[in-house]
């Protein structure tokens, strides 16, 4: 669409329009929404049944076995924690940089963060096998007076991911409070009561806002180093071991860049149907998608650079085991996943150098799907190919996921989309207060 045409369409936006348009989807859902929800519930059921089967029969029904003891479950954990990261990037880091274009996408991106961490959190539990012992990870005074080993990166993960979930939830909820008050005032009856209770009696006095502004700013300030720390800690689950292919100092920045890359792709994947289904074209424009495409391109370049540096370091180390590990990754049993990873994460996003592609929502949607697939494979390749081909040729072996692991993988995607679907019909998918703030300061459009 031509810029002038777009300007003509959005120039009329007022604060009342923002209230009305953004709150509109919170009404009686259409049949297609129920159908989608039904599909996700069905697939969650498939995943849950597979998990119960695993609990009943034992962890042996999963494909993980010696030497690859970390498989699809840990791949999923790392993938979903990574997906979460761009939500915090958009909501906190871009807030601190005063990037106005985040206004219309931050709410849904933050929701995605929370649902992605909820999905990620399932996998260490599923991977435990005997899930009822999960509380052993928590520091609590036990009868034997033994505590978790705080030198272990796996215990550090519990703190990092737990803090990340809590802070993301607090940050998201704080941003929602004024919007919940707007919904309380818009609706009547039970809806008004529920949103009223959730808004904690917010009325928007200057006194309330002044404390709110500071709290929001500090939360953005702490969420920024937090997001960088979380995937760094996740990467140390690997990098602190001596496994060839894992033991590398670049892992923390490599994982953080990959996390933001995959998260941006997931934001695009979610935003395109959301914008279309709820008629939010005036709010989420080509301008916003172009900015996301630029971030996608930047992080793709960082990820591609990291892939190259891994190979350079393997060669430069003059360590034959390290070199063999990386050569086997590209030529051995996992060559296909490896080249899928390279194609999806390094080659496909290069199309974003072209402005026409960056402003084409259909093209970006397709690219984002490629990146989602590529990033899942990246996690899989790092985990499975490294463990399958360690030091001793006698200990080599390959891993193939079992149907139980695949069913749980599918169920995890359904679980994520289930929560996102619920979110789209119960809460404002765009921050009403922030859009109004933008409009009140003389911006009659939200970006072209």
């Amino acid at each position: 669409m031509a810029t002038a045409e777009l300007e003509a369409r959005v120039v009329h936006l007022t604060m009342a329009d923002a209230n009305e348009d953004i709150a509109r989807p919170i009404s009686k859902p259409a049949l297609r929404w129920w159908l989608l929800l039904g599909v996700t519930v069905l697939l969650i059921g498939v995943g849950a049944a597979a998990w119960f089967y695993q609990i009943g029969v034992g962890l042996g029904v999963a494909g993980i076995t010696h030497p690859v003891m970390w498989g699809v479950y840990i791949t999923n954990f790392v993938f979903w924690v990574g997906i979460a990261h761009s939500g915090t990037l958009i909501s906190a880091i871009l807030y601190l940089f005063r990037s106005g274009w985040r206004t219309t996408i931050n709410r849904a991106a933050e929701a995605m963060t929370i649902f992605a961490v909820m999905t990620a959190g399932l996998f260490p539990l599923i991977h435990l096998g005997r899930v009822w012992y999960f509380y052993w990870l928590m520091p609590y005074p036990s009868q034997r007076q033994i505590w978790p080993d705080f030198r272990s990166p796996l215990v550090l993960d519990v703190f990092a991911v737990g803090t990340y979930f809590t802070i993301s939830l607090i940050f998201w909820y704080t941003g929602l409070i004024p919007d919940l008050a707007a919904l309380r005032d818009k609706f009547s009856g039970m809806k008004s009561k529920v949103y009223g209770a959730l808004s904690l009696g917010w009325t928007g006095t200057v006194n309330e806002w002044r404390h709110y502004r500071r709290a929001y700013l500090y939360m953005a300030g702490i969420a920024t180093p937090l997001v960088l720390s979380v995937h760094s800690v996740v990467s140390w689950d690997f990098a602190l071991s001596i496994v060839p292919g894992w033991h590398s100092t670049i892992f923390a920045p490599y994982f953080v860049a990959g996390a933001i890359f995959s998260g941006i792709a997931m934001v695009i994947t979610l935003m395109v149907p959301l914008r279309w289904a709820f008629g939010l074209e005036d709010y989420i424009t080509e301008y916003h998608f172009e900015n996301m495409a630029k971030l996608l391109l930047l992080t793709s370049l960082i990820v591609g650079y990291a892939y190259a540096v891994e190979y350079f370091l393997a060669w430069y180390s003059a360590d034959p085991i390290e070199q063999e590990s990386f050569l086997w990754r590209a030529r051995g049993h996992y060559a296909l996943p490896f080249w899928i990873m390279v194609f999806c994460n390094v080659v496909v996003p290069m199309t974003c150098w072209f402005k026409r592609i960056r402003r084409s929502i259909a093209a970006l949607f397709v690219i984002s799907i490629f990146v989602n697939i590529g990033m899942w494979y990246e996690r899989f390749v790092i985990i499975a190919s490294s463990l399958a081909h360690e030091f001793d040729p006698g200990g080599w072996g390959v891993y193939t996921p079992s149907w139980v692991e695949i069913a749980i993988l599918v169920g995890s995607f359904a679980w994520f989309f289930f929560w996102f679907l619920i979110f789209t019909r119960t809460l404002p998918t765009i921050s009403i207060a922030e859009v109004k703030e933008h409009l009140a300061h003389g911006h009659t459009d939200l970006g072209t």
Partner: protein, 166 residues
């Protein structure tokens, strides 16, 4: 208590109305806004917020808790693992850092709610649903002034809706 409730449609009008009320001696104003605004805070001569101090206290509490938890439990059950010292500061820093962040966030949220006097079940009788849509509201208590004089002052500021509460 009697007073006048005025509604405005723009931030600028509200800001100048607040300044006029304050110049006329009405300092006990209640102001509602659909958006956060530094300009309104300045017009009401409100500066800063103690939320930052609470966030700092939370952060320091988290950091100390992280150190006590990790070092204390390691010393309480001294078991050498991975060939590392019993009190291994580098990995413990991660727990200290995460708890610093966690308690900073929780303290900031709590401080915001306490200082904003939320949660609250009953809304102010002067609050109107339009204040969460696109209207700015200012309630001017009459105090020692004559109610009709206050109403006239409010009308002079260009309020689009004026309600007198006697």
């Amino acid at each position: 208590m009697s007073g006048v409730l005025a509604q405005y449609t723009s931030l600028g009008e509200t800001e100048s109305a607040i300044r006029r009320f304050r110049e006329a001696g009405h300092t006990d104003l209640q102001v509602w806004s659909p958006i956060p605004s530094e300009a309104l805070e300045e017009a009401m001569d409100i500066h800063g917020s103690p939320v930052g101090r609470w966030a700092l206290i939370g952060g320091m509490t988290g950091c100390v808790t992280g150190l006590l938890l990790t070092a204390g439990t390691s010393l309480g059950y001294p078991l050498v693992t991975q060939g590392k010292p019993i009190v291994s500061i580098p990995p413990f820093i991660v727990v200290m850092f995460e708890l610093t962040i966690l308690l900073t966030g929780i303290f900031a949220l709590m401080a915001m709610l306490v200082h904003a006097r939320r949660p609250r079940r009953d809304l102010s009788p002067h609050y109107r649903p339009e204040f969460s849509v696109d209207r700015f509201g200012v309630y001017v208590p009459a105090g020692q002034w004559d109610l009709s004089d206050v109403e006239q002052l409010v009308r002079d500021t260009g309020a689009v809706d004026v309600e007198t509460d006697s």
